[in-house]
Symmetry: C2
Subunit: 368 residues, 2 copies
């Protein structure tokens, strides 16, 4: 069964769509929980599926270092290895080469760096990254790109972008033809939107199954991020999925959907969950706060998830104070369920043609 | 609905029974997972129930220190607080006063000690312990006892036992009359079985709903533990549940069942789970071992639990090496499911009158 993206509705800039894959549909706008090391931290696959998540993201860089490609390939890829039957997107490792590794050297061929785990020397190239992602058996594969650190040096960004485009071309050749999977290009260009436009044009000339904005959500103010999305998103192929990588807060998601984005991933729900921070329709709760010792309300009765409904804030505060693992599980589980509840309600509002009302009603309260 | 114990069958010393409570039945011989701080570590209540566990144990000492009785009582007791609907047994704190606390001073009144968490001075007495257990709303309540450390000083053990019996009497008075709950006496006496017999006789004269052996499984060789059980168990009221506290390995359970014991609790399945140690019908697996990187078999296909069947040893080894929380969850979950599978098969063998065959077939392999 070939993978297929359909644009179902547009409403004030926001888009309703669906990616159909042999492993299930992905309704867009979609949020992908992050399962870096082939596990969405602290959750079983049943719990992830119960949240309504239709796709997760795993990290090529981390999996290449541990446990290595061979052990996953032997299990029939990531789905068999981690017992997850729904679609999986893998990033290419480009971002982690910049953010995690040491002594990185970039050449035309690829990136040489030291593993952040044991210092071992590693080489990644477009061909190697795509080969790993094929062995991981990802349903959506990302091109290998260079992610330069934040800089105002336009020449540096331009030459990096040029390299990323050559790497995107090599990624596409290595990917070959496979109508059951998708290969996404990644738009770079730093803070220079003219470079981003050029990058998108040249990627579109090569031709990909979807287009991502990379190098955002790296600490810039939200309005800058929105501005970039607003300028670039309308230029992206209307009939292909549009993805902002590594984003974001509920407010980021609402604002990017408004500007035409279809896909998101972020560690925020799970990372926050492990520190006792819960996202709710009424705002953010720091469950470590002693005021919750007297709060017998459920975590968030507006979210249809056992973790949201069946455990009191009083109990969760107790679990956090005792460093109990169950605190990480329950709050991460709720947070992902909340993010999926948000995405579901966004999709319904686009379907019904009242996304702007929904946005106006919730943006301020959720932009925490 | 009054709580009730029925002895259903006896087979070569082993007993099949059932405790009926308003919160559900407990088939005996029964294993109780330990939920020290109102959570069986790393598991949701759904996962605990899926293992076939019909009762769990929580710790009065820990809960009294954190979060304190008031926050649990307000939630309607432990069941509401932790969202667990099945029966709960609470120990009295006596064992933790000995094993965890600092600067303990025992008087006729009770025990004064410093909290192991923050050094705060705490006082526990029979009246306070039973009052806490009532507020926790435990279905099975344990008398407050003094647990002397291991010693060959018989006079010391004798006077401690005398005190524990006076405390048991006071515990019973404080417990009062409540036919929906059970109060168990605890037989002390250290390594002196004549003292243990005397203790049991005097507790039986006071009259309890069940009898426990305390001060075992504290590091003594298994055959000594079995010898004590063998001598004392037949003297215990035949029509009341018999409980060995804090035990044990699968071999300990088999051996104690053979000697007439009905109930057990132990942290072993969860504590081992968090270190990567799995109990299986074929022996103990240290899943950290690098040999499991090449082992694509499920953890234990003989145990009917998602954690046992759906994840490979290769994957679990990867999760442990990455310190992923999911490793603790899955291996703890499997271990409890394995313990419950063992208890279920023990009960079936007693029912069918072939417990001795079952024992002979499994004792050596499981006595790891």
């Amino acid at each position: 069964m070939p993978v297929k993206f359909s644009l179902l509705n547009e409403d004030n800039g926001a888009r309703l769509g669906r990616i159909e894959t042999k492993r299930g549909n992905i309704d867009t706008p979609a949020f992908m929980p992050v399962g870096t090391a082939a596990t969405v931290k602290a959750l079983t696959v049943d719990q992830i599926e119960q949240t309504g998540s239709q796709i997760i993201l795993c990290n090529t860089y981390h999996l290449y270092l541990r446990p290595g490609t061979e052990r996953i390939e032997r299990a029939g890829g990531l789905h068999g290895f981690m017992n997850f039957s729904k679609p999986i997107l893998t990033d290419s490792g480009g971002f982690q080469v910049m953010s995690l590794s040491k002594n990185t050297k970039i050449s035309e061929d690829g990136a040489t760096f030291n593993s952040h785990i044991d210092g071992k020397k590693i080489f990644l190239s477009p061909e190697i990254s795509i080969d790993i992602q094929k062995k991981l058996n990802a349903d959506i594969v990302m091109v290998f790109d260079e992610c330069p650190e934040y800089t105002k040096d336009k020449d540096r960004i331009k030459s990096s972008m040029d390299l990323s485009i050559r790497w995107a071309q090599r990624s596409k050749i290595e990917f070959g033809t496979n109508n059951e999977k998708m290969l996404f290009g990644i738009v770079q260009g730093g803070i220079f939107n003219d470079l981003r436009k050029e990058c998108l044009e040249r990627l579109t000339d090569i031709g990909f199954d979807g287009y991502a904005l990379g190098g955002l959500a790296v600490g810039e103010p939200q309005d800058e991020m929105f501005k970039t999305v607003e300028e670039i998103s309308p230029l992206m192929d209307k009939y292909k999925p549009r993805y902002v990588m590594g984003t974001g807060t509920p407010g980021d998601l609402l604002g990017a959907v408004k500007r035409g984005i279809d896909m998101f991933d972020c560690v925020l729900p799970t990372r926050s969950g492990r520190t006792g921070l819960a996202f709710t329709w009424d705002g953010k709760l720091n469950l470590r706060n002693s005021k919750y010792t007297n709060d017998d309300k459920p975590l968030d009765q507006n979210v249809d998830c056992p973790a949201s409904q069946l455990y009191s804030r009083n109990y969760l505060n107790h679990l956090i104070n005792c460093n109990e693992i169950l605190a990480s599980t329950l709050i991460s589980w709720h947070n992902i369920a909340f993010f999926q509840d948000l995405m579901r309600k966004i999709r319904i509002s686009i379907k019904n043609g009242n996304f702007q009302d929904f946005y106006n009603q919730h943006f301020e309260k959720l932009n925490y």
